[in-house]
Amino acid sequence: MAIRTIAEYQAAGESPEIVFWVGCAGSYDARAQKITRALCTILEHAGLSFAILGEEERCTGDPARRAGNEFLFQMTAAMNIETLNMYGVKKMVTACPHCFNTLKNEYPELGGHYEVVHHTQLLNELIKDGKLKLKEGGDFKGKRIVYHDSCYLGRANDVYEAPRALLEALDVDLVEMKRSRQNGLCCGAGGAQMWKEDEPGDKRINVERIEEAIGTDPQGVAANCPFCITMLQDGLKAKEKNEQIPVYDLSEMILTRL
């Protein structure tokens, strides 16, 4: 993929319309890399000029801060803000709700003021503005898809409608779990749980969540967060349903309709 960094834009005397904040999961996790590429393809298709930070992007510090390591958070945040401000970044999109939350809510106090959107919001905007036209039909038309709200997009930031509007644009047969929107159940990864074993208990949280999803008898699960996707897929594996029920990021579903 010919993706340009913001440094390359600047060297050419140009500036992109938006910066794509890829995040650690989107950069390194094999599953999330697919989401990263899907989003890039869509943005290219929509004719939106975008840049990544490449090697200059660092972890936003979300897991460090939530684990309690404020020193590390402040360090990595200060470095990111230095970089973003140096390039004069105004608007960013990210496919990770944790990055989204930190960039949007926690960086302003530290001197980083940007307009930050989650990719489901941006894709929705592009469709509404007619910049992104979806082909008729597609793999998902009429398919029974259950949607999982991530905590950091949902409760943390009150974004419930943008992802659902995309599912509507995809003509899926959207099913909701009993615990959805404000009452959505966590996948189990947040608060730096992703990096540690569970505390002793009866059950893993992702298994509890995927059982609820499976209960809706879906043909697929739609999500908006790379960590949720990992957790939900692990849950499906534990229930030996990973062959029958795929987990998609919304960008991957949109990709099939270009």
Binding site: M1, I3, V22, C24, A25, G26, S27, Y28, Q33, T36, R37, G54, E55, R58, C59, G61, P63, A64, R66, A67, G68, N69, E70, F71, Q74, T76, A78, M79, E82, N101, N105, E106, E109, L110, C151, R155, A156, N157, D158, Q182, N183, C186, G188, A189, G190, G191, A192, Q193, W195, K196, D198, E199, P200, G201, D202, K203, R204, I205, V207, E208
Partner: protein, 437 residues
């Protein structure tokens, strides 16, 4: 005369006792760190009006919300009758407001009576739901002992109060028919006009009726005064503290964590982004919170506002999957610890200037509990009075990592990766290697 003296002494005594209790609560709340709560006054008023007064968040669950509303409205409206009881008690009058208000009086008392019946129904349902039905959030370990008793005591007090109201009004109704020159006609009350004759109509002795009327009057008054004195020791403090608590609740996005400006400053100096201002810290500072004094005072206010309903714990993904974490327990622990410190200060065992009783919040809340949190905000969303258990959990985590240098060892590789490689995982590949596929 004796009646008036007993009344005034009882009233003053109870008020003094209650005042002492509330002063202690206030002092305990202010054990927390100073915090200036600024920002959008209209949004704060909206929270007080909608969430505390309007009980908006209760209505996520219809049936308990409606039943709770009956008790809540009955409680508030009954205070109008209480004003009359106090005025009658001091002036040794009987139904002082009846001649002044006329038909309006009949209406107000009837309204109180109807709500009292609804409140009685709600109370009986709540009692059986709490004690007979298996509602999981009422069966958690943190409710064993006093918290369960506390809840039942208040429900029983509610029943006593209603018995008081109807014996007073019921006997009065019968007496109005027999001794109109003493018991002036008040118009027909909605419930007592038929309940009174049905219960007490067969009692021939007017003296007995008068006794029942007085019994109801004193019972009503005693339950209210007793309740007032008991409040500072009970979860039912929420009926008062829900109002300030919703006012002081955070207005920012739930996902935003409280910044630590002292660390921000330190890090910026260390990185050469800011110049040191010369003022080197006198002693090694403690970061995060391990006790009531290192939490913010609004955290302690929240702890005292908690009525232990357990909606937070029922919504908690960790709790639902059998982990030890219960957000309600976190709030109860903070309150119990504040009570403990308060009691030690009152007994003169310790002074606030140099408080060292060898204990901390970590004697109440184990690392296992705070490590189980996914920061999902379900507890924050669930609370009907805008309490934020997550904020406290995160301050405890900060203390563990920053001050105790403890915490789950599995987090070390993540910390190292962020510090050394700028990524949450230490990977042997370029950050943009995903482009090459």
């Amino acid at each position: 005369m004796l009646h008036t003296i007993v009344f005034v002494l009882l009233f003053i005594g109870a008020s003094w006792f209650a005042w002492r209790g509330f002063s202690r609560i206030r002092r305990n709340i202010l054990l927390g760190k100073a915090e200036v709560v600024a920002g959008d006054k209209s949004a704060r008023w909206r929270n007080v009006l909608l969430v505390a007064l309007g009980q908006k968040k209760m209505f996520k669950n219809m049936l308990p919300a409606v039943l709770h509303l009956f008790i809540y409205v009955a409680f508030i409206i009954t205070q109008i009758e209480l004003i009359e009881i106090i005025a009658d008690g001091v002036l040794h009058q009987h139904r002082l407001f009846a001649p002044m208000l006329g038909g309006l009086y009949t209406f107000i008392i009837s309204f109180i009576e109807i709500l009292s019946v609804l409140a009685l129904v709600a109370t009986l349902i709540f009692l059986s739901r709490r004690n007979l039905l298996h509602v999981p959030r009422f069966r958690k370990p943190e409710l064993k002992g006093f918290p369960s008793l506390d809840a039942n005591l208040i429900l029983l007090a509610e029943i006593l109060l209603i018995i008081g109201i109807f014996s007073m009004n019921g006997a009065d109704t019968v007496l109005q028919g027999r001794l109109p020159e003493v018991y002036h006609h008040t118009g027909n009350f909605a419930v007592s006009s038929w309940l009174g004759p049905a219960l007490f109509g067969n009692i021939a002795s007017n003296d007995t009726l008068m006794f029942i009327e007085r019994f109801g009057w004193w019972l009503h008054l005693s339950v209210v005064l007793g309740f007032l004195c008991y409040l500072p020791y009970s979860k039912h403090l929420h009926i008062l503290l829900a109002f300030p608590n919703t006012w002081y609740a955070s207005l920012s996005a739930k996902g935003k964590m409280e910044n630590m400006p002292e660390i921000q400053k330190e890090v910026r100096i260390m990185m050469g982004l800011d110049q040191p201002d010369g003022a080197a810290p006198a002693e090694l500072p403690e970061f995060g919170a391990n006790d009531v004094m290192s939490l913010r005072w609004t955290n302690i206010l929240q702890a005292y506002s908690c009525t232990e309903c357990g909606r937070c714990t029922a919504a908690c993904p960790a709790n639902q999957t059998g982990k030890k974490l219960s957000p309600r327990k976190v709030m109860m622990d903070v309150r119990d610890r504040a009570d403990e410190i308060g009691a030690n200060l009152d007994s003169g065992k310790f002074t606030l200037e140099n408080y060292q009783d060898g204990k901390s919040l970590f004697d109440y809340i184990s690392p296992e509990e705070i490590h189980a949190c996914t920061t999902c905000n379900a507890c924050v969303e669930a609370c009907p009075v805008l309490i934020n258990p997550l904020d406290i959990i995160l301050q405890l985590r900060r203390h563990e990592i920053l001050t105790q240098s403890a915490g789950p060892s599995e987090w070390m590789p993540m910390f190292n990766a962020i510090e050394n490689a700028g990524a949450a995982w230490q990977m042997g590949q370029a950050r943009d290697a995903w482009k090459n596929e």
